[in-house]
């Protein structure tokens, strides 16, 4: 067992996924199988091999500090589930940032 049901519950919480108990059981089994399989990377990756985050070996890609137009206000809020006073309306927030 490479991952427990409790760990899956924690992952779901971290990922903001409200899963039912049945779903937790189901995913725990599948994730366990997948993680066991992908753990094979540990067989080959040895010390001293640099990690590759990107195949493209680019550096220093910048833009100049020049203004481009903003989106029109009506467009900005047009897709919002709820809006009020020109702002996005969101449910009450529990935790302070």
């Amino acid at each position: 067992m490479s991952i427990t049901r409790d760990e899956v519950a924690h992952l779901a919480q971290l990922s903001r996924l409200a899963l039912t108990d049945d779903e937790l059981d189901h995913y725990a089994g599948q994730l366990d199988e997948i993680i066991s399989a992908v753990a094979r990377v540990q067989e080959v990756a040895a010390v001293g091999i640099p990690p590759t985050t990107h195949a493209a070996e680019l550096v220093n890609v910048y833009r100049d500090d020049v203004v481009e137009p903003s989106l029109p206000a009506d467009v900005v809020l047009s897709q919002a589930p709820a809006a009020q006073d020109g702002r996005f309306r969101v449910p009450r927030i529990l935790t302070e940032d």
Partner: protein, 511 residues
């Protein structure tokens, strides 16, 4: 087939010529394809959205330009099906997900913009596995697409809608995106050409990200030349994408026309064969290698020992990036919102919306990626996967010292049945075994049809891998194979697709 459906069987290159010469109008072409979509898509389900009016307007604009004598580009007036993962300012973009159902982006992806600038007529948005995660389109929230060769089978994925549209003559051109094989694998199982350009060769701006370091838009077409024409139209440096390569587009169109492999060094990847590969796939692959030899190519076997670790590395890297990329779908600014009853907190609404709005595979990958990036696991999983990525790049580098291109089957099997692997993620993941190495290394790769597997009569794809920014090489090889097989066969490859007859019968019956 009615007269207008014959029009839809033309190649994109021929359609463009016909528009330019006045043989047909762009509007006629658009109408013919829209009509075919209307009649056949109930059976195929390639499209999530058809933009008939905007397509006709774009076609009219091309005809108008021609009327006043303006020069037209090599694909002006040619219809195209766009994967629903690229933003469109005049059509919704859903990524096959309930969480984005109906989302109307305020901007065009760079690929979308370049298509419009080239006079390409965008017919609509195609079905896909949700957020491009999958190999069958069964992960679409809006129902699977069907393979025009056999309607009970999957068209591959994640760009399955785009591949099915091209194979069903609903469009001569389609755009897909490739992250682990999502262009080449559906291309292979639908019997068409699928190309993953070099990473950074085509812009990701406006491509809704699955795995940022892998995602690459590219063509799905019925011929190698059409793929090259589309490749050229969408490629080139884009300042809006920091990972876009500031380099000339490789001469892919010239290479597709050149179609000569004499003296070319071709390496057969030893590791991409054997157990798990369908006998018919191996048979057709070996025949095609012999064909290349007969055309003057120098074939050798090459070992890429770390390719067998590509799949596990991919299933750590891609989910890790996706767990972060998909965090923005939180019901606050756009898209679905569930459970906002005035009492529930933002945190609860986010969790409920994401639970309802995402399908099973997306949730699996988000949790897998969250796990791989967690403190305490990062080094053992994400970190190791990145080291494997280095080893795979080294394998490619070493191989390309010896040969000009590498070849393998595109995918180990032909199209599987709908439902067969739906809740067996590990089995589903195997579909990308041969395509993933090029995604991890960022080099170019192309899948070209190489015949039908004797056991099931379904298409087999032949994969050609080229070094970074040497995309033209694979077009040379692909075009040579295509020309030789067409000459030998003497009839159109797609005319063997039995599903197409079923589709046409169904369309007739519906009339």
């Amino acid at each position: 087939m009615a007269a207008d459906t014959e029009l839809t069987t033309w190649t994109a290159a021929r359609m463009a010529q016909a528009v330019a010469s006045g043989e047909v109008s762009a509007v006629e072409l658009a109408r013919a394809h829209l009509d075919r979509i209307e009649r056949t898509d109930p059976a195929v389900h390639a499209f999530l959205h058809v933009g008939a009016e905007s397509a006709l307007a774009a076609a009219r604009a091309v005809d108008d330009r021609r009327a006043v004598g303006e020069p037209l580009g090599p694909l002006a007036g040619v219809p195209l099906a766009l994967k629903d993962v690229l933003t469109t300012s005049d059509m919704p973009t859903t990524c096959g997900s309930r969480i984005l159902a109906g989302w109307q982006p305020p901007y065009d992806a760079t690929v979308t913009r370049r298509l419009r600038e080239a006079g390409v007529v965008i017919l609509g948005k195609t079905n896909m596995d949700e957020f491009a995660m999958g190999s069958s389109t069964e992960n679409s929230a809006f129902g699977p697409s069907r393979n025009p060769w056999d309607l009970s089978r999957v068209p591959g994925g994640s760009s399955g809608g785009s591949a099915a549209a091209v194979a069903a003559y609903q469009a001569p051109l389609a755009i897909g995106t490739d992250t682990g094989g999502s262009i080449r694998q559906p291309g292979s199982v639908c019997g068409i050409v699928g190309v993953k350009p070099t990473y950074g060769g085509s812009s990701r701006s406006g491509l809704v990200a699955f795995a940022s370091s892998l995602d690459t838009p590219g063509p799905l077409t019925r011929t190698v030349l059409d793929a090259a024409l589309l490749h050229e139209a969408i490629s080139g440096h884009d300042p809006a994408d920091s990972t876009s390569l500031d380099a000339p587009v490789p001469p892919v169109v010239a290479a597709a026309r050149h179609a000569d492999v004499a003296g070319l060094r071709v390496g057969v990847v030893a590791e991409l064969s054997g157990e798990g590969y369908a006998p018919g796939v191996i048979t057709r692959f070996n025949e095609t290698v012999e064909l290349l030899e007969s055309l003057g190519a120098k074939v050798t076997e090459v070992s890429c020992p770390h390719f067998t670790y590509a799949l596990p590395a991919y299933y750590l890297i891609a989910p890790s990036e996706c767990s972060s990329n998909l965090a923005r779908f939180d019901a606050m600014r756009y898209g679905l919102r569930v459970g906002d009853d005035g009492e529930a907190s933002a945190e609860d609404v986010m969790s409920q919306t994401r639970a309802v709005g995402f399908g099973a595979e997306v949730k699996r990958r988000i949790m897998l990626g969250t796990y791989a990036l967690s403190s305490g696991y990062y080094d053992a999983y994400y970190g190791k996967a990145q080291q494997v990525r280095t080893l795979i790049i080294r394998d490619f580098d070493a191989a390309f010292e010896q040969v000009d291109v590498l070849v393998s089957p595109t995918t180990p099997t032909t199209a599987f049945s709908i439902g067969e692997r739906a809740d067996d993620p590990m089995a589903m993941y195997l579909a990308d075994l041969c395509t993933i190495p090029s995604d991890l290394a960022g080099n170019a790769a192309l899948s070209v049809p190489c015949g039908l597997a004797p056991e099931d009569g379904l298409p087999v794809g032949f994969q050609i891998m080229a070094p970074v920014l040497a995309d033209d090489r694979m077009y040379r090889v692909g075009a040579a194979i295509e020309a030789a097989l067409d000459a030998r066969r003497g009839y159109s490859f797609l005319s063997q697709a039995s599903g197409l007859a079923q589709i046409d019968d169904a369309a007739e019956a519906a009339r």
